[in-house]
């Protein structure tokens, strides 16, 4: 009765009933691969929730303080207020450590699901017209996610993160003409400036999340408006969507997946140690940790820096730093190529049609080959980004490992690409002549108790009498 009155009240004022009714009946395709984007969304929600908690305790200041907390090895040491506040979060704040670790794990799972989602969309051609804008927004989310992750794990002001910041500072510094100015603008002066941490904090908890939220909203709105792609199946056509309605099935399933995502990430945060900054120690300018690796979504960029030759050249009598090509130009080319892929593919194929069917990878062998080659390259670069740890495990010299990885960087993508192309083409050929369906037979019982068989043409349905 109260509910009814409330609903009527809202309807009288907003006229929302027809809108809600229409949208609750909206159909969502039901394929497991559509869950990858959902996982990204749910881990993002968890990131915001845990992030709000962390922001209550984090102090974005590099002014020095003497650590007098319960962590004995650091007792009496001079540390920055930022580092001290992270130690306090980890050892004194109730549930602080589990929140910190859950936040970090959620960031890793967010990025992993974003990457998996991009890969899914790429290999199924779901980016094709009319969904190119969703693709561009998705690439924006990928880049924004990397920025969010990097700015986040740089905040504790520990030795590892300080080293990462110094590398980024050097990369910005290497940009011709504007490098010095840009580096000072971003970092608030020469590294490590006291302006840096407050600036990084505002980027991490305001600017980047705001950008991500806006992009995410636009992304979801587009999915809602344009509907998902779907695979060919019974009852599907290019123009109709089959699947499950938003209410109740999709919504309840979504809530279930969200809660399970929260549970798994919280379990990781509670049980699996991550980024133990108290073991790295506070940032100091005279030393760097060894071995040192960034998180996985930055790992391939780090690998690029480690494998790149020591080329440095002069332009108009000025120096272009070694870092400019591997840290600025090459990642720029990779992200631009990724963003423009849908347009390039449509142009090469002379394809101006709209597509609502998702393709199977075998239907586009060249695209699948390029995608697989790209993944191979990404993996080699990621291994190169952790070459110090890898060399230790394999008991070989880093120099030897680097030479092997350098060869793999060029050979593996070609091999993987050719193999993928060959497999896709072979699978595709088999589909040209699919196995013919067996003839359909209808049995009819005759009056004397026997059976009479009649052939039924394909596509017709035998109605029950």
């Amino acid at each position: 009765m109260i509910v009814r009155r409330a609903v009527d009240g809202i309807d009288e004022r907003l006229g929302a009933t027809s809108f809600v009714k229409r949208n609750l009946r909206k159909v969502f395709p039901d394929h497991w691969s559509f869950m990858l984007g959902e996982l990204a969304l749910y881990s993002f929600v968890l990131l915001i929730l845990t992030g709000i908690f962390l922001s209550f305790f984090y102090v974005a200041s590099s002014s020095e303080t003497v650590y007098l907390g319960p962590y004995a090895p650091m007792h009496g040491q001079t540390v920055s207020q930022a580092y001290g506040s992270v130690l306090r979060l980890s050892f004194e704040v109730r549930a602080g450590l589990v929140m910190r670790q859950t936040h970090h794990w959620a960031a890793l799972i967010f990025m992993a699901s974003v990457v998996a989602h991009v890969v899914r969309v790429f290999f199924t051609g779901a980016f094709r017209k009319p969904r190119e804008i969703s693709w561009l927004i998705g690439i924006g989310l990928l880049i924004g996610g990397i920025a969010a992750g990097f700015s986040g794990y740089s905040l504790p002001d520990d030795l590892l993160s300080g080293t990462g910041l110094r590398i980024i500072y050097s990369a910005v510094l290497s940009i011709p003409l504007v490098g010095t100015w840009l580096a000072f603008l971003l970092f608030g002066g020469e590294f490590p400036s006291p302006e840096l941490l407050p600036r990084l904090f505002v980027m991490h908890i305001l600017l980047i999340p705001l950008a991500l939220l806006s992009l995410l909203g636009a992304h979801l709105a587009l999915v809602w408006h344009q509907t998902h792609t779907q695979f060919r199946g019974p009852g599907t056509t290019e123009d109709t969507v089959t699947g499950i309605p938003v209410w109740p099935r999709f919504a309840l399933k979504g809530i279930g997946v969200a809660l399970m995502t929260f549970a798994v990430i919280a379990m990781l945060g509670g049980l699996a140690q991550i980024n133990p900054v108290w073991l790295y120690g506070p940032f100091v300018a005279y030393t760097a940790p060894a071995p040192a690796q960034p998180d996985f979504y930055v790992g391939w960029l780090e690998g690029l820096l480690r494998l790149w030759p020591n080329w440095e050249f002069t332009l108009f009598g000025r120096t272009v730093g070694e870092l400019f090509l591997p840290a600025v130009v090459v990642p720029g080319i990779i992200f631009t190529a990724l963003a423009l892929w849908p347009f390039a593919e449509a142009r090469v194929r002379r394809d101006t049609a709209t597509h609502h069917y998702a393709q199977r990878p075998r239907e586009a062998p060249v695209r699948s080959a390029v995608g697989a080659a790209g993944i191979a390259m990404f993996i080699v670069l990621m291994l190169a980004g952790s070459n110090d740890v890898l060399a230790k495990y394999l008991q070989i010299e880093v120099d030897t490992l680097n030479s092997v990885l350098l060869v793999l960087l060029f050979v593996l993508p070609v091999v993987v690409g050719l193999l993928t192309f060959w497999i896709c083409r072979d699978l595709g050929r088999r589909e040209v002549r699919p196995i013919e369906a067996p003839p359909r037979v209808a049995l009819r019982r005759t009056a004397d108790g026997g059976f009479e068989a009649t052939h039924v043409p394909h596509g017709e349905r035998e109605e029950a009498p």
Partner: protein, 114 residues
């Protein structure tokens, strides 16, 4: 914590093994040579010393510098040698810098005086 660019590393080597440019030889008395500790690649502090080969190695991207040969880069992505800090041994036995680093410290940049 000190300025990030002023970090330096002091190494004692056999004086007759040291092969510095003639104008910089006097700046390393008794085989005591001081180099900038900031890598010319991406600015990481050179935390690793390979004693057997007398090389400084960067833990970030494995750039390696030959201590005996004026900190010339011998491996990895670093393009320039480490700047040297000229020192003298005072009459009181205390080491003093006699000037600034021989070159700009850290990674190269557009406005770098060459």
């Amino acid at each position: 914590m000190g300025s990030a660019d002023s970090q330096a590393v002091l190494i004692r080597v056999e004086p007759d093994q040291l092969q510095l440019p003639p104008d910089r030889a006097a700046a390393a008395p008794d085989g005591l040579v001081v180099y900038s500790k900031i890598c010319t690649h991406a600015g990481c502090p050179l935390g690793l010393y390979l004693a057997a080969t007398q090389e400084l190695r960067c833990p970030c991207h494995q750039s390696t510098f030959d201590v005996l040969d004026g900190a010339r880069p011998v491996y990895g992505p670093a393009p320039r040698p480490l700047p040297q800090l000229p020192i003298e041994i005072g009459d009181d036995g205390i080491l003093r810098a006699t000037g600034d680093f021989t070159e700009p410290v850290g990674p190269s940049f557009w406005d770098m005086p060459s």
